[in-house]
């Protein structure tokens, strides 16, 4: 088990390195750089611009830039923003909590709602409830999350004359304000995952409810509640866990737009602006953050598999 985890971690590190190098190089291939964008329309001379490029190291070949950046990175120095010259690490750490809150809550809400909807649909298979829930799930699966967010904003504004506050408040300072601001983004981000989880939960529960071991549990005279919530659900979570890794990718991708829409100062906003500005150090740092988050989640999911399924935990036969 430990060897398995370490191997997974090893793969994760390799993936992160590859992603970093890929983004590092790709960003520099995109036309235009930070200097030309900053200095356009200012009439600054070409010499001055070149001097600025030299200061940022942009005149070196890509592989030299990469090497210098890596040398800094291993010391914990991810460089400074090309704009305000602030260290990327500081810039970044200030924004991480918002994205983590948003992402985690969206995942939690999506998974919890998805499981609930999936269980209800599976248990009431073939009924009107089941059909309604399935239509509802497909609808959410096919509508992008920012559209859901817009619809919710409009609906609340129209019917309740309410809209979320525009300035972010720390939950520790103004919990109500924070909750008001986070509610719609969290829900909008969570819906896609919810729909996917609901569909998968429904189908794997149906498969499990028709299985031999469930027949045995029923033959023992166990209450149907236990049959569904203990045996069938637990067996279905194995499939759902796989989905959660993919859901995280959707949620993280979603934060970029949602954070901008709701004025949430998270890494999504940061990376959005940094890409437009060709602020390479910031983009690369954000990418590493997202890749790292992803790798850690996947390892966690693998560990959860082992926690749920003894066949993974104990390998093969002891008899």
């Amino acid at each position: 088990m430990i060897g398995y985890t370490l191997r997974r971690l090893g793969y994760g590190v390799v993936v992160m390195c590859l992603v970093t190098i890929f983004v590092f190089v790709i960003m520099r291939l995109v036309p235009g750089d930070a200097v030309s964008l900053q200095l356009q329309d200012t009439g600054v001379s070409k010499e001055a611009a070149d001097a600025l490029r030299a200061e940022f190291g942009l005149d070196d070949p890509v592989w030299v830039q990469l090497w210098e950046w890596l040398a800094g990175a291993v010391r914990g120095d991810l460089g400074a923003s090309f704009y305000n010259k602030e260290p990327v690490v500081d810039l970044f750490l200030a924004r991480v909590p918002v994205t983590v809150q948003l992402g985690l809550l969206a995942m939690l809400v999506g998974t919890a709602l998805g499981l609930t909807v999936g269980i209800i649909a599976a248990v009431t298979r073939g009924s009107v409830t089941d059909s309604a829930l399935r239509v509802f799930a497909v609808a959410f699966l096919s509508v992008p999350n920012f559209v859901v967010a817009l619809l919710l904003l409009t609906a609340f504004a129209l019917w309740f004359a309410w809209s979320p506050p525009l300035v972010y408040a720390e939950p520790t300072e103004d919990f109500i304000g924070w909750a008001q601001q986070m509610a719609i983004p969290v829900f909008a981000l969570g819906t896609g995952g919810m729909a996917a989880v609901a569909r998968l939960t429904r189908s794997s529960m149906l498969e499990s409810l028709g299985s031999d071991y469930i027949r045995t549990v029923r033959a023992k005279g166990v209450r149907e509640r236990t049959v569904v919530l203990k045996h069938s659900l637990r067996n279905s979570t194995i499939a759902v866990l796989t989905l959660l890794g993919l859901e995280l990718a959707t949620v993280l991708g979603g934060t970029v737009i949602i954070e901008r829409m709701f004025g949430l100062p998270g890494t999504g906003q940061l990376i959005y602006q940094a890409v437009l500005d060709r602020d390479y150090p910031v983009v690369v740092a954000c990418t590493i953050f997202y890749a790292g988050l992803f790798v850690i989640t996947i390892i966690l999911i693998d560990l959860l598999y082992a926690l749920v399924d003894p066949r993974i935990r104990t390998g093969k036969a002891l008899s």
């Binding site: 028709g210 299985s211 031999d212 071991y213 469930i214 027949r215 045995t216 549990v217 029923r218 033959a219 023992k220 005279g221 166990v222 209450r223 149907e224 236990t226 045996h231 637990r234 067996n235 749920v308 399924d309 003894p310 066949r311 104990t314 093969k316 036969a317 002891l318 008899s319």
Partner: protein, 340 residues
């Protein structure tokens, strides 16, 4: 009748929805099981033998009982409240299945699954249930029960898993154990062990055994009485020794003849039944066996013969027995007729 039977199945119909409309997988099946007795229901695929047994416990997936009655100690189970059926399952009526590998929940230990069965019907402290689980595992002959109680199903062999299933079935001392092809998925040496275990447990716990099987040899070894089914119908029933030695129904006879035994001559063709076993949807009109029957008569394709009671406890569904009847209106299918 000395004592009323423990289980009395009367004219049972089990219907399944199919795209082509509802199909009766079991059509008018009647049999009884007395306390402590072993009754075998034997048949080939599509005979409805497993469906009947699952229907008794209310464990059918998509099908349902459309007519008939199932009495357990004079209590009607058809139409009984689901909660009542749940109370009976595992306490009065226990069941084991064909495939032990897939019949245990892979995510829970053997001990957990036994404890769950113990606590489903009576309040019991977790600790006491745990101790009882170890005892039960020892009783069914699982080696090293103290350790195995913490094992997961995949850590056991098929034979050991089936022993665990038997232990689960025994938790509440059921009056009737239904064993649905309990050894079909097992190797012969393990099959012999499980059959022996079932015999021992039956003797020690005084329970009745309803054995569902396709294997006449298992019937011969285990059962007191046998019910032979074909395409959803009972075609013959009676004491095992009599039915096997002198089958009265042409299907039973042909089936027995087509089983290879150590005495089958190698230089001659095996006696075989022509054609194939019909699925419930394609069961022919008239006698369901008539297209394959070596003794077929004209009337066999026109009307289905009733189950003739040849003498108390012995019955066969075949027009051949009609010769012994006085002239009279043709009896309706499903009724029992006495042969003079």
């Amino acid at each position: 009748m000395p004592s009323p039977p423990l289980l009395e199945v009367n004219d049972l119909y089990v219907r399944f929805p199919t795209p082509a409309g509802p199909v009766n997988a079991v059509a008018g099946v009647s049999f009884t099981v007395s306390a402590g007795e072993t009754v075998a229901v034997v048949g080939e695929s599509g005979s409805g033998k497993s469906v009947s047994s699952l229907a008794l416990l209310g464990l059918l997936g998509s099908g349902n009982i459309s007519a008939g009655s199932v009495l357990l100690r004079d209590e009607e189970l058809v139409g009984a409240a689901p909660e009542r059926l749940r109370q009976l399952r595992g306490s009065e009526l226990a069941m084991i299945f064909q495939n032990p590998m897939s019949s245990l929940d892979p995510l829970f230990t053997i001990g957990d699954q036994l404890v769950e069965a113990l606590r489903a019907h009576r309040p019991m402290a977790r600790r006491a249930a745990r101790a009882r689980a170890v005892e039960l595992l020892r009783e069914v002959g699982l080696p090293d029960p103290e350790r195995r109680v913490r094992a997961y199903p995949h850590e056991l062999s098929g034979g050991q898993q089936q022993r665990v299933m038997v232990a689960i079935a025994l938790t509440c001392e059921p009056a009737l154990l239904i064993a649905d092809e309990p050894t079909t998925a097992l190797d012969v040496t393990v099959e012999a062990q499980i059959l022996e275990l079932l015999r021992t447990m039956q003797r020690e716990h005084g329970m009745a055994l309803l054995l569902i099987t396709h294997d006449m040899a298992v019937v011969a070894e285990m059962a007191d009485r046998v019910v032979v089914m074909y395409a959803g119908r009972v075609v013959e029933q009676g004491p095992v020794a009599e039915v096997l030695r002198s089958p009265r129904n042409p299907y039973t006879r042909a089936l027995i003849d087509s089983i290879p035994t150590p005495a089958t001559p190698r230089d001659q063709p095996m006696p075989a039944i022509a054609g194939s076993v019909p699925t419930p949807a394609e069961a022919p009109a008239g006698c369901r066996f008539h297209p394959r029957c070596p003794s077929v008569l004209d009337r066999c394709s026109e009307a289905e013969p009733p189950l003739y009671e040849l003498r108390p406890g012995r019955a066969s569904r075949c027009w051949l027995h009609d010769g012994a009847l006085r002239a009279g209106p043709a009896p309706a299918a499903g009724e029992v007729h006495h042969v003079a």
